[in-house]
Structures are given as C-alpha cells and as structure tokens.
C-alpha cells in the first residue's frame, strides 16, 4: 500500500467513524450515549411511538415530494426560457447566481419579510416556497448547461422531418437533457431533506420538519432516541443513493 493510500484510508475512516459510533450507540439499552449498556431496540420502539417525530417525518416527506416535483419543473422551465436568449438573459442569470450563493439565513429572512408583507401565514406553503427558492437555481443551472451543449442540428433535423414542436420536445430535447434533470431532482431531494435554516425561518407554530426536530432535540444534547432516528434516516438515504448510483451506471 502506498503512502497516499494510507492517508486516504485514514481520512475516510475518520469521516465514517462518527456515524458508526452513532449507529452502534442507537442500540444501547441504557440512556447513556457514552457507554454501551447491552443491546436492545427499545429506542427504536420509543421513536415509533413519538408522535412529534412522526409529524416531523410526515411533513418532511410532503415537503420533499413537493420540492422535488416543483423545483425540477420550475428549474427546467426557467432553463428553457433562458436558453432562448435575448433581452435580459444575463441579468436573470446573475439574479439566479445571487440566489444560489446567498447565505441561507439571508434567503430565509428575506422570504419571511416578503410573506409578512403579503400577509401570508407561515406554514407548509411558505416552507415549500422557501425550498423552491433554494433548489430551483441549482436545477436551472444544471439544465441550462446541458441545453447549451445540445447541438442545434438535432432540433433542426427533427423540424426538417416535419415533426411537431411538442413531439420534438418529448422525443429529442427531453431525452438529451434527461441526465441533468435527474441530477437536478436528486440534488433537490438532498437539499430539501437537509433544509434546516430556511425551513425554520418560514415554518409556522404547527409545522416542524425533520431537521428542525433533530435540531431542537440536539440542542438539549445527544440522546439514544435521536441516534435511532438518525440511523433510520441514514439507512434510507443510503438506499436512495445506491438506487441512484445503480440507475446512473445502467446506460
């Protein structure tokens, strides 16, 4: 083994170690998070009876679905509109870039001010809007870059064959940009499930999503129950990532 491989192994181990610790400690029978006191599933059972956690999971999943669908659609449509070029394209791209690089706290706070002025109460709707604002620029830039790569001859050939614009879109353009749209959707899913700052700024009294739930519990310290919840999430994410990687390899 070479020197560089030893270093890389060490770094990879150091990165994975905390998660291993978390998973192992979630199976403890006691309440301590330092010492393993026997093996049990009781923290998992506690978790399934915790209604707050269930509400948080439900809300997060709702948001996830809404954000992935909405963000991907909106982002792709924006990319198409910008691809047409012409007046104001550069300004709009700059605006999207600002939205992309803006610190989350600033994004969340600005939207709070906007919804407050419009007299919209915080809730699922505002959280969704907040996530759309964080997610859409990513999708737009991904799809826009792919659209720019597309040779114009493809569309021209379809047009010469007398294919209708709608069919050209469905059978020529969309298959070409599909990889970017899929990565955009995956990225939106990752950002949505992870979104804590913007969501908490825009959440109402009744709406707590999973990151908020974890954050609120974590502020009071690490507990075996949160270890169990985190382990469940970790397993779910690993499954999604493996499926995504498998799909990615196929073509």
């Amino acid at each position: 083994m070479k020197k560089s491989e030893i270093l890389l192994t060490m770094v990879a181990m150091a990165m994975i170690l905390p998660m291993m610790n978390m998973i192992i400690m979630s199976f403890t029978a006691g309440q301590s998070v330092y010492v393993m006191e026997g093996f049990s599933f009781r923290h998992y059972l506690d978790l399934f009876q915790n209604t707050d956690a269930q509400h948080a999971i439900t809300l997060s999943l709702q948001l996830l679905a809404l954000t992935v669908v909405g963000g991907t659609l909106l982002g792709t449509c924006c990319a198409f509109a910008l691809k047409a070029g012409g007046w104001g394209t550069k300004t709009l791209l700059g605006g999207l870039l600002v939205m992309l690089t803006m610190p989350e706290v600033a994004t969340g706070f600005s939207l709070t001010m906007l919804f407050n002025q419009l007299n919209i109460d915080n809730g699922l709707m505002t959280m969704w809007m907040g996530q759309l604002v964080t997610v859409t620029p990513f999708v737009t830039f991904l799809v826009y870059a792919k659209l720019k790569e597309m040779p114009p001859s493809l569309v021209m050939a379809a047009q010469d064959m007398g294919v209708s614009p709608l069919r050209t879109l469905c059978h020529v353009v969309l298959p070409f940009i599909r990889p970017s749209v899929v990565s955009g959707a995956l990225l939106s899913a990752a950002l949505s499930i992870d979104d804590f700052v913007v969501s908490s700024m825009l959440s109402g009294p009744e709406s707590t999503n999973l990151p908020q739930f974890i954050y609120n519990s974590v502020r009071l310290g690490v507990t075996p129950e949160i270890n169990a919840l985190a382990t469940c999430m970790l397993i779910l994410i690993t499954i999604i990532a493996v499926i995504a990687a498998k799909r990615h390899q196929r073509p």
Binding site: A81, G95, F109, L114
Partner: protein, 254 residues
C-alpha cells in the same frame, strides 16, 4: 415574452430583498408587525439607527469572528482537500478512492453534525469549542474543496511533470512550481465555494461552537427570533446580501 417564468421567479426574490431593505430603514416598535410604516401622515419616515448600530463593538466583533471562522475553515478545507485530491490522483484506482472519501458527504449535514457531536462527547475539551466548529465545518465542506481540485488535478498535463522530472527538479519543487500553479483554477473555485457558505454559516457554530463566538448569521437569527427587532435583523441581512452580490459580480468578471 418567453422569459416570464424566470422573470417572475427572480422578481419575487428581488421583491423580498426590497422588503428587507425597506424594513431596515423602518423604526422598531412594540407592535405586530414590529415596524413603523414607511409613510407616516403623508411624510416618508426613515431612520438610520440600525445602520449606525452596525458599527458598534458588538457587531464589529461578530464580523471579526465570522471572518476568522470563515477564513480558517476555508484555509484548512482547501489545503487538506487539495492534498487529498492530489493523493487520489496518485493512486491506481482514483474513482474508488474518491467515492470512499465522498460517501460520508452524502449524509445530510445536520445528521453529520449530530454524529460528530456524539464523538465530541468523548473529549471534554472539544465540547462547545471553536475547534469543534472547525472539525464539523471541515467535514461538511470537504466535497466543495475536493471536487474542483480533483477536477483540475486529473486534467493536469502529465508531460509537464515529466519534463520537470527530466530537468532534475525534486518532488517537492515539482509540486510547488509545476502542479500547484497549473491547477490554480481549481483552487480558486474551491476557495470561493468554501468561503462563501462558511461566512454565512449558522447551524454548525451555534450547535457545536463556542458560545462566545457569534457569527453574523446568528445575530440575524437572534434578532429575528428572540429579540424581535426586525429592522436590525434587516440591516444585517442587507449587508450580507450586498456582500454576496459584490462577490458574485466580481466572480463573473474574472
């Protein structure tokens, strides 16, 4: 008008920013909403107390903390990320190693932070310390440094390295004089991608960091959530937005 959708989307956000600017010059009052309207009795009512308060030691210290945390984190992450990327290019199966290093990065950041908090429990001196902030931020931002560095390192022309070797340059000299200068594009990308988000970081320092180290973002958070001083929070947010816009404009030009 084919661009109505992005126009609407960006416009909505710009309106939000305009409201922040408007709130930042309003006066804080004890009511709901806790700000004075822009027009009082047909006269425009603006105050600049918030902007003057920005120059108080409280916020200047916080600015210093923010810059310190951001710059130290960027330094550590980019240097280590670059070295790791270099190590990866030296191995026989780079893609395997890249995946191995990046797998923990797929975990949501709050989970990763939480997992690290569990580790810090074993070492007393790390609980609620700046060191903990840097460790967690490093773990969170490593991909942003590693990927651009790896991208430009793997595109490096090996003939350059071989030429330097033939000329009898030492390994260290080749690294400093040939490899690093030829991958500076990746390094600048990595610097930008790590520095910008780490300056606006809120969750990590507030969860694992030292209580005395206050990021500007936590001040916005606190002014909005605990104190309820919207104008002050808006003034801070305006500064943050301005800084972002400036960096983006500067980055676009180069």
């Amino acid at each position: 008008m084919r661009k109505w959708l992005p126009l609407l989307f960006v416009g909505l956000f710009m309106t939000a920013l305009a409201f922040v600017l408007k709130t930042s010059v309003a006066e804080s009052v004890n009511a709901m909403p806790p700000i004075t309207p822009l027009m009082v009795d047909g006269k425009v009512h603006l105050v600049d107390t918030q902007y003057r308060a920005l120059w108080s030691t409280r916020y200047l210290e916080s600015l210093l903390d923010t810059v310190r945390v951001g710059v130290v984190n960027t330094g550590i992450t980019v240097v280590v990320g670059y070295l790791l990327a270099f190590c990866i290019t030296q191995t026989r199966r780079p893609l395997l190693w890249l995946t191995l290093i990046l797998v923990p990065a797929c975990v949501p950041f709050l989970l990763r932070t939480y997992a690290w908090m569990g580790m810090f429990n074993y070492v007393d001196s790390l609980v609620q310390s700046d060191m903990a902030t840097h460790i967690v931020m490093f773990a969170n931002y490593l991909p942003f440094a590693l990927l651009p560095c790896y991208a430009s390192l793997s595109k490096l022309d090996t003939r350059l390295v071989n030429a330097a070797k033939d000329m009898g340059a030492s390994g260290f000299r080749i690294f400093c004089r040939v490899i690093v200068p030829n991958t500076r594009h990746g390094i600048t990308t990595a610097l930008g991608m790590v520095l910008l988000p780490s300056l606006g970081e809120y969750a990590i320092p507030s969860l694992v960091g030292h209580p005395a180290t206050k990021m500007l973002a936590s001040h916005i958070w606190e002014q909005y959530f605990s104190i309820g001083d919207w104008p002050m929070a808006s003034a801070l947010a305006t500064m943050m937005v301005l800084a972002t816009v400036l960096v983006v404009m500067k980055g676009k030009r180069t």
